[in-house]
Symmetry: C2
Subunit: 157 residues, 2 copies
């Protein structure tokens, strides 16, 4: 299905309104299914003390609540900016049919956001990142994975 | 500060309990500040219809609520598994002092999870990914970034 620019206009309008109202960062996102908007969201990190409350994550969460599902089957996400790695990861877990974005990570970087920096960091080995990450080996740490695989009642996602 | 294995034991125990109770995926996470646990969480994607409800994201959200901040200054995150790109991105935005993990993305892949696959995908150009991603250029799409940069009252994050 071809993208519908009117949904991107809506995402961009949401981003501008969020700046004008001082509600949060300059980002907006819209989830569409069968040509109908099922969720809209803006960045509300600072307003809600939630660093994960990016527009895309919030829109995915709202859309899943609306659908009563942890998957966005057959949905499209329109976002005012290329998703950061957190939001991109959220999209992979939500599995929409398509994602459309307007600005790029370079535009976000020019406005002072870490998206491009985090993209670089994700590619590094965990112990070579600027965020201190260390593996602690525990002998029994894989037992719960074994239990998961052996379970007959697990709900896969 | 040296890692405290007792917090990792707690994260791993949470992961096992989550499997045993069929509450969600085999993952647990703990946020610690000044040697005190301020938040614990498990994966609750399927129970809450929220694909972003990984243990680390939930622990970060809870810890930020407990601290009344959108940053985890001086905190450590202990997680039963290397974070997926979504959770890693969330950590970069939350900015803890350190992250400790037990299992790796390879262990997660062996248990049927997409973490390693998503790590590979994040490194690709958006239009070369298995998730369909397309840029839609809008002439006014950067106006809200300009407004953000020009604003004197923005709360940076």
């Amino acid at each position: 299905m071809a993208p519908d620019y009117s949904f991107m206009e809506l995402a961009v309008d949401l981003a501008m309104k969020n700046v004008e109202s001082c509600a949060g960062g300059p980002f907006g996102a819209v989830v569409v299914k069968d040509g109908v908007v099922i969720a809209t969201a803006t960045n509300c990190v600072t307003a809600t003390n939630d660093p994960t409350a990016h527009a895309e994550v919030m829109a995915i969460r709202k859309a899943c609540q609306a659908l009563g599902s942890f998957q966005l089957d057959g949905c499209e996400i329109y976002t005012s900016c290329e998703p950061c790695p957190m939001c991109l990861g959220a999209m992979y877990w939500a599995r929409p049919a398509a994602v459309y974005y307007a600005n790029t990570r370079a535009h976000a970087a020019d406005a002072g956001f870490d998206d491009a920096f985090i993209y670089d960091e994700v590619g590094f080995h965990p112990e070579q990142r600027s965020l201190k990450m260390t593996r602690l080996e525990l002998p029994r740490a894989q037992d719960h994975f074994d239990a998961w695989v052996a379970s007959q009642v697990q709900v896969k996602y």
